[in-house]
């Protein structure tokens, strides 16, 4: 479905909803083409190709609200589907805060090219995808004779979406995303088979990281884990490698949403304007970043996207306020969720951060764990490297770190200069002091 067809369908659906008795309606039409190639032992393990379409509609009837979606886009079925949605809404309880956003929040949308669509997408062939994945696997396997298993892949997606609101909003977006990489498993000591991965994502084919880089890195990372063991419980310094640091950022994001605040589920409730982290921590939500993986011109509510400092030198400056919970709290809407997250960087590389550690643990991956959004308590499993006097001494695993986010965010002493650019959260490596580790 092209953009014009999508727009026509969305407008039609909005009209249908109004005809069926809705006061207001919002429609999203999304379609994507997805291709997935998986290669193992230089043979294609899996080849998957598909196209999908969906239509989602939110209807409002006297402040009553329901949201429904379907992938059956035949006109007859859709007509019936929409009138049923309207009929169902009538059963629900009136909620004065339900409704489309005030149209005054729609203008101000930037008229810029976010550069998230690769015009060359169509020319990519199956053979090129397979050859790329084979090259990643070949590099991973040739890196060491200890490799006992390796799967490499190349995936891509081309997507197109439109959003139409009955009170005047219309928006369209289209983009391409490619990702490629490998997971490598190596022979360890005893029964263990350490493994690790290197996958990267890119918006444009020409930005693809060389297959050799990812292949070698996946295997090298697995090799460094050979002999991993837990060490004594205790208090250690902690450096989290950039790509793993999203686990940490993620624990802050949920409690920053208006829904969490309004539902009294957030330890950040009442902390706006207060210092919640070390002054080394500045986090900016930037939807307009060129070629970002979270780049967008409007948010889920259709509200024009703007760059926003969320945490400024440790001070909480803004929450993620969507339209509905914003109204409940009587707050101005900001953004319905994260777009791209960028962080104020320090001046040291990961190596330089590690070199500063007297006695600490470099965490290269997390496993499981969770956090309590109401109290900020967390406990998560880690995998990494014990560091003494700036030198990597031995690989560790089967350990947990625990604490409270309010305290731990103030123990952050330095950010790295190495943002992970292959995701929408461009987090650098982070250094924390005196963290609780449990092991033996």
């Amino acid at each position: 479905m092209n953009k014009e067809n999508q727009l026509a369908l969305a407008r039609w659906a909005v009209d249908q909803a109004k005809k069926a008795g809705a006061d207001a309606a919002a429609v999203d039409v999304v379609n994507s083409r997805d291709i997935e190639v998986e290669v193992r032992e230089q043979k294609v393990d899996k080849l998957k190709e598909s196209t999908q379409n969906s239509l989602g509609i939110s209807v409002y009837v006297n402040n009553r609200y329901t949201s429904q979606s379907t992938n059956d886009l035949r006109e007859n079925t859709l007509t019936r589907f929409i009138s049923e949605a309207v009929a169902m809404a009538k059963y629900l309880t009136e909620d004065e805060f339900r409704g489309l956003p005030d149209p005054k929040y729609y203008p101000g949308r930037q008229d810029i090219d976010l550069k998230i669509y690769d015009g060359g997408y169509e020319s990519l062939t199956s053979k090129e995808r397979i050859d790329f994945a084979k090259a990643v696997e070949d590099a991973a396997r040739s890196h060491s004779d200890k490799v006992i298993a390796c799967t490499a892949g190349f995936n891509d997606s081309e997507y197109r979406s439109v959003k139409v609101h009955s009170n005047g909003f219309e928006g369209t977006a289209e983009g391409t995303v490619y990702s490629a990489g490998a997971e490598s498993t190596v022979r360890g000591e005893g029964d263990g088979r350490p493994s690790d991965w290197d996958w990267r994502t890119f918006r444009f084919l020409k930005e693809a990281v060389a297959p050799e880089v990812m292949g070698h890195s996946a295997t090298e990372r697995a090799l460094t884990k050979i002999g991993q063991k837990k060490i004594d419980s205790g208090v250690y310094d902690l450096v989290i490698e950039n790509r793993a640091a999203s686990r940490f950022i993620g624990m802050l994001i949920g409690p920053m949403s208006a829904a969490s605040i309004q539902q009294k589920r957030s330890f950040l409730d009442g902390k706006l304007g207060e210092k919640i982290a070390s002054d080394k921590f500045t986090m900016i939500d930037d939807p307009l970043l060129v070629s970002g993986f979270g780049s967008r011109l409007y948010d889920g509510d259709g509200i024009a996207a703007t760059r926003r400092v969320m945490i400024d030198k440790g001070v909480l400056k803004s929450f993620y306020v969507d339209w509905y919970y914003g109204r409940k709290l009587d707050w101005e809407p900001t953004s319905s969720g994260t777009s791209n997250l960028v962080f104020e960087q320090g001046d040291k590389s990961l190596e330089e951060l590690v070199a500063q550690m007297k006695r600490g643990i470099l965490v290269t991956g997390f496993i499981g764990g969770n956090s309590n959004s109401v109290t900020g308590d967390f406990s998560v499993g880690i995998i990494g490297m014990f560091v003494e006097n700036g030198r990597r001494v031995k690989p560790v695993n089967e350990m947990n770190i625990s604490g409270n986010l309010t305290e731990v965010m103030n123990q952050l002493v330095e950010m790295g200069n190495d943002p992970w650019i292959y995701a929408s959260w461009l987090r650098p490596s982070v250094y924390f002091r005196d963290i609780q580790f449990s092991g033996v």
Binding site: K43, S69, F81, E84, L92, D191, G192, V374
Partner: protein, 513 residues
């Protein structure tokens, strides 16, 4: 319409899943015409639902085998999911999703070609079959000439099908549960209730000439609450789920949900953190089966083993645990969330022994791995929906009862913890490291349950921990909550079970004294 992503791997309890809902009272569900008091139905009903006949199916399979390949299968699926939600004392949201399509797979050795289409026209299905066919590069193979219909026993009878239950019948249940939550404790300040149901109807056709069908209902209710005391806040949730109709939400069951949700929340006011480090851990009967799911379950899925990735890859027939330990993965546990009548490749379900009397017995297989290992399929080939190709997945994974009483197990611990409720877990297949997150539990001191604990992650190594299972209770229970298992980006509902069990040493995330 935005669906929030469920956590990877196991996630229990209330998740703010936004999917969608239809007023079945208004009779638009195509299944409604087929619905009897007990789930459907005859083959002809399934064919009618997907607007196909055997001749067309044979033609599509032939197109799939046009470039050779060992076999081709079609997975037709129709799914209706409904959610009704209460927040701030009002039933003020409802979501419904309708999903309809066919996944077409061609397998050549261990290579898979896959495509799906959401349009069930002959043209769209033939095109998808041709795409999947590209995995092979030989001369065409003939498709099936005729089909035989395999009727599987039904492990999840329902009193009433969901297509007959309108939102008007669900709203009072949600309100009743909400009232119960407030009744339980005056410290409860915010409540959230979700009432969900999904019904998936599947038809599997294979180039070996078999046709099989399944009708899979699911009932799910989740209650979450925030409680406040002297400026301190805590929240927690409880869920109840089964392959049943609305009869699952009886007064007794709603009482149980309310009681557990509130009790598990207010107890957190007094909860402490245990000391960090290795200690004795007792797992309560029931959802503690998450231990098995992570410590051994995933590692015994045959795809990880045929690819040489699992720590269990060369351990079949070896003694890996005490003789009192037997672990099964069972699709036949009546009405359990993880039960299936057939798997998503059409193979019959079964009760599979992973470990018998301490000895590792069988992996969980799909068709590709059972051909690889030259064994019979175990009925573990599952997929999230028609959009995905199947792989070996768990169903209801549990440990058989052992010789000890619960009191003996707890009484044997000098200093340790007792774990009762969990939110999520994860495993790394190669090294065998796994974790699970304890939301509720207690310290055990001198053989007695003492202070409550909260929010700790437990981490161990699968084979090591199985060796350290030193006591197994006689009180097996199956989890009753809404567990989802994630693997390679696909989520499927599962159940887990365990008798009261003691692990002699495992690392507990806590505070260093």
């Amino acid at each position: 319409m935005a669906a929030m992503t469920r956590r990877e791997f196991i996630a229990n309890g209330a998740k703010w899943v936004a999917v969608a809902s239809i007023p079945a009272v208004l009779n638009i569900n195509p299944l409604r015409a087929l619905a009897g008091a007990e789930a459907p139905m005859e083959l002809v009903d399934y064919l009618k639902l997907f607007e196909v006949d055997q001749e067309l199916i044979a033609k599509i399979i032939s197109a799939g085998l046009d470039r050779g390949g060992d076999f081709c299968d079609l997975y037709f699926e129709h799914r209706v999911s409904n959610w009704v939600g209460l927040q701030d004392e009002a039933v003020n949201r409802a979501y419904c999703n309708i999903d309809y399509g066919v996944g077409i797979r061609v397998v050549n050795g261990d290579q898979t070609g896959f495509s799906f289409t959401e349009e069930l026209t002959p043209e769209a299905m033939l095109k998808a079959a041709q795409t999947a066919a590209n995995i092979a590069n030989q001369s065409a193979k003939p498709g099936p000439v005729e089909f035989s219909f395999h009727r599987a026993p039904n492990y999840y009878p329902v009193e009433k099908v969901w297509a007959d239950v309108g939102i008007d019948q669900k709203i009072p249940v949600v309100q009743e549960l909400n009232a119960k939550l407030h009744d339980r404790d005056s410290r409860v300040t915010k409540t959230r209730v979700w009432y969900g149901d999904w019904t998936s109807t599947v038809l599997v056709a294979s180039s070996d000439g078999t046709l099989s069908c399944d009708y899979r209902p699911m009932a799910e209710i989740q209650a979450g609450c925030t409680a406040e005391q002297n400026g301190q806040r805590e929240e927690n949730s409880y869920s109840l789920s089964a392959r049943k109709g609305p009869e699952h939400f009886s007064k007794e069951n709603l009482d149980k949900v309310a009681t557990e949700a509130v009790k598990n929340t207010v107890v957190l006011f007094d909860a402490v953190k245990p000391e960090a480090g290795e200690m004795e851990v007792v797992l309560a009967a029931g959802s503690s089966g998450i231990l098995l799911h992570e410590a051994i379950g995933h590692g015994m899925e045959a795809d990880f083993n045929r690819k040489n990735e699992s720590i269990y890859s060369d351990k079949i027939d070896q003694q890996i645990a005490e003789p009192m330990v037997s672990i099964v993965d069972d699709g036949t546990w009546e009405s359990a969330r993880g039960a299936i009548n057939i798997d998503d490749e059409g193979s019959p379900t079964q009760k599979t022994y992973l470990v018998r009397d301490g000895i590792l017995r069988s992996y969980m297989h799909d068709l590709i791995s059972s051909r690889h290992y030259k064994v019979k399929p175990t009925g573990n080939g599952r997929r999230e929906s028609f959009r995905y190709d199947p792989m070996p997945r768990m169903r209801c994974t549990y440990m058989l009862p052992g010789p000890h009483t619960k009191e003996e197990v707890i009484g044997s611990v000098k200093k340790g913890i007792y774990c009762e409720s969990f939110t999520n877990g994860e495993v790394h297949i190669g090294p065998g490291d796994f974790t699970f997150y304890v939301k509720n539990g207690n310290l055990i001191e001198d053989g007695k349950i003492s202070k409550p604990i909260k929010d700790i992650n437990i981490i161990g190594n699968g084979p090591e921990v199985l060796k350290r299972v030193v006591m197994v209770g006689n009180d097996l229970e199956m989890s009753v909550g809404s567990g989802m298992c994630g693997k390679n980006g696909q989520s499927v509902p599962v159940s887990m079970g365990l008798p009261t069990t003691k692990v002699s040493a495992i690392t507990v995330g806590g505070i260093n004294s």
